[in-house]
Homo-oligomer: 250 residues x 4
Amino acid sequence: MIKVTIWNEFIHENTQEAAKKMYPGGLHLAIGKGIACDDFEIKYATLEQDENHGLSEEVLANTDVLLWWGHCAHEKVKDEVVDRVMSNVWNGMGLICLHSAHMSKVFRRLNGTSGKLIWREANERERIWCANPGHPIAQGVPESFVLDYEEMYGEPFMVAPDAQPIFISWFEGGNVFRSGVTLQRGNGRIFYFRPGHETFPTYYNANVLKVISNAVRWCAPTVRFPYPTTHRPNADEQISPKVRQTSPEA
Amino acid sequence: MIKVTIWNEFIHENTQEAAKKMYPGGLHLAIGKGIACDDFEIKYATLEQDENHGLSEEVLANTDVLLWWGHCAHEKVKDEVVDRVMSNVWNGMGLICLHSAHMSKVFRRLNGTSGKLIWREANERERIWCANPGHPIAQGVPESFVLDYEEMYGEPFMVAPDAQPIFISWFEGGNVFRSGVTLQRGNGRIFYFRPGHETFPTYYNANVLKVISNAVRWCAPTVRFPYPTTHRPNADEQISPKVRQTSPEA
Amino acid sequence: MIKVTIWNEFIHENTQEAAKKMYPGGLHLAIGKGIACDDFEIKYATLEQDENHGLSEEVLANTDVLLWWGHCAHEKVKDEVVDRVMSNVWNGMGLICLHSAHMSKVFRRLNGTSGKLIWREANERERIWCANPGHPIAQGVPESFVLDYEEMYGEPFMVAPDAQPIFISWFEGGNVFRSGVTLQRGNGRIFYFRPGHETFPTYYNANVLKVISNAVRWCAPTVRFPYPTTHRPNADEQISPKVRQTSPEA
Amino acid sequence: MIKVTIWNEFIHENTQEAAKKMYPGGLHLAIGKGIACDDFEIKYATLEQDENHGLSEEVLANTDVLLWWGHCAHEKVKDEVVDRVMSNVWNGMGLICLHSAHMSKVFRRLNGTSGKLIWREANERERIWCANPGHPIAQGVPESFVLDYEEMYGEPFMVAPDAQPIFISWFEGGNVFRSGVTLQRGNGRIFYFRPGHETFPTYYNANVLKVISNAVRWCAPTVRFPYPTTHRPNADEQISPKVRQTSPEA
């Protein structure tokens, strides 16, 4: 069993009519329903749930892969929770950042970048091309697929350069974007996946859900421990005595 | 002219006899003297210098490449100064992190990692091997060179995986370490270089100084502007009108 | 079931007393016995076996992961067999190159490099450090382990720069080496693993065998098809008629 | 001075009316004229020039950066000349592969891939986006620029995964492509740049020429020697005598 926690900031679906209609109960539920299968144990957490945004140390210790969707409330996420997520990733927990989570504290701090990109809300067609068909995250996904309309995210994308492109998007309005990229920090595997505007039916799309399911399996931890585990080892080999030099300035 | 600012936390050389003797006036001066040449304009900044640790917005705007040495006072560096350094790197400023700066806020946050490694102070011999002789940072440096004694840093090193190994170290006590690695964040090039314990004559070593000089040239900015510069562009290509789908849940 | 084919040039064990004594019947048998488990179906192939060196199109089509050990007869491997192996890797077959296979045609051509390194036969101690403990190939392997004596391979190693270091070796004589690295070409995953001199008991070492077993699982194909599958697609979007420019030189 | 050799297969411009009209005298001349400047010493070489295709050992020894354009005659390039180019790249010579050179022996063998991609000749608009504005190859090039019509090359592109994306293209017909990527093999830096169909005025475009000029400077060698230079060194550190184990099988 892979223990999956889907975190959603869950604000638009409470405050904007279009989002509420598209994702009644929140987009986390749509994702959870969409990827449900026998070997995923899926739980949910949201920003306002409790003082830990639903992400206590205990919850994270029981999470193999954390999904993250946030947009308008990135700055409301407490630094202490961000630190907890980062340290769990370093120990091996998988992390999937979705859509506007490119500007989340969690994603930006694990990249060491601003997370910036260029964008446009214009209901435009997105074609998602697979650039790495042999990667487990692309398994069973066609060479390209279409989302009839999405928000545009465009290059340049301020992501860390170890981002391996699995998917690259074409937008009707003339832009391109590395839409699916893998990263690693410490023992933890990370996947960023671009599509998922809150008022569009993206999280009901079979290919989108297939990518997210594959990513959950790929991000699931191999190990779960601090890295490195040793800190100040004795020498394994003999060290000869040294005559110490003095400073040429002395 | 390349404008170089050498930042040193400058505590050990004021408080520990061995460090004071090895680097009278601070190790930043030894580095500055060691890399001095006609096309470097070198300035210095230290932790206690002023409320900005000597790194005001104006100083950074006039810095092409920042060198960073810190050890016992990482946590005393203000978050606001760290943010300023990071944002200058994203815009194009070069950064060279030296020795124990692997645990500096600046280095850890630009990596998105804990920066951890294993270490030992045992006056042991270090052999530094060049793993990428064609890289500009390795120019004029021999295939390997020796530091008679140094502190040991060992793998596993929690650095971001885009770290390209230029140098790999062998230690007498049985350890290995990726001692010189390049990274990029936004428009800024970063080099981490391992040697440089405060009580050892490392910053008087000709090969060490050669590597640092080369790194200054390689890290010097090509451009210096926010990335991306555009934020919310109009479409360059025509976007067709869409009939919006409703939610399958609605 | 993962279908594994272990290819050995199988010359030293027939011609040199020390190799014959260490690996009676060939080192491929020792590896096969050492990694045997319920979900590996292991077969063998050798240079002199038939006109295809035991690697007909049919054999490769029935191989998920190919292991390769060669040393003194790299140039005797037919180009046509090398091309067949490469094209199977591009389609998704996994490949594990062992020890002196760094100079095999297969490894060099998949890297695009000369494969060169520096070496020494001096019965020296090798300590293998894990640089990426969260990687599936490192699962269950200690932070470091020792081979009492091995041939030395040292940096600089002419490997392609996408080589992700999983293991880095320390040698008694003063050298270091990226001993375990992952690569990808087309849909196929590749692992290079350094230890394995023909007269040393390396392939009886539990940690070495554990690494090879893990690598077999990691290299096993996700997909098995040519990449890309489409070649000359029609346009998915409408292309406007163009007035063609003439040459400014005309 | 940077010594540049522009190699062109030079067949279409002799045999096809449209190519002859667009590039009278050959597209190599248009490129040479377009990038000419005080510190480039530019020479030319073509397939039929002599038995070395104009690329004798002497010519390559006097070449800092080689540009390569080929399309219909990849298989006519002698293996011996390909080997000579590869070995010069490994020693430090820069290489720029243009457009259909993705299928040249030189590019494929330096990648270790098939070089394949998907393509279409339909006179479609190409928008080239910069994904890495801080890279020296992007210096002075706008965030995006347009070629009014070009041949389409689309993902998936079978390039080695160390290919760092500098430019990503959008095509009118719905495709995307990593149009400008850097690679390194041995000491040599390599740049692949997509645009340049033989019947289109691409090599008269100021942005295309700017990218090629920048790439020449970036690819120019730092060093020029075999890698590694040492082969079988004595031990720098003392190696203790060993009692050799026998085989568990013996």
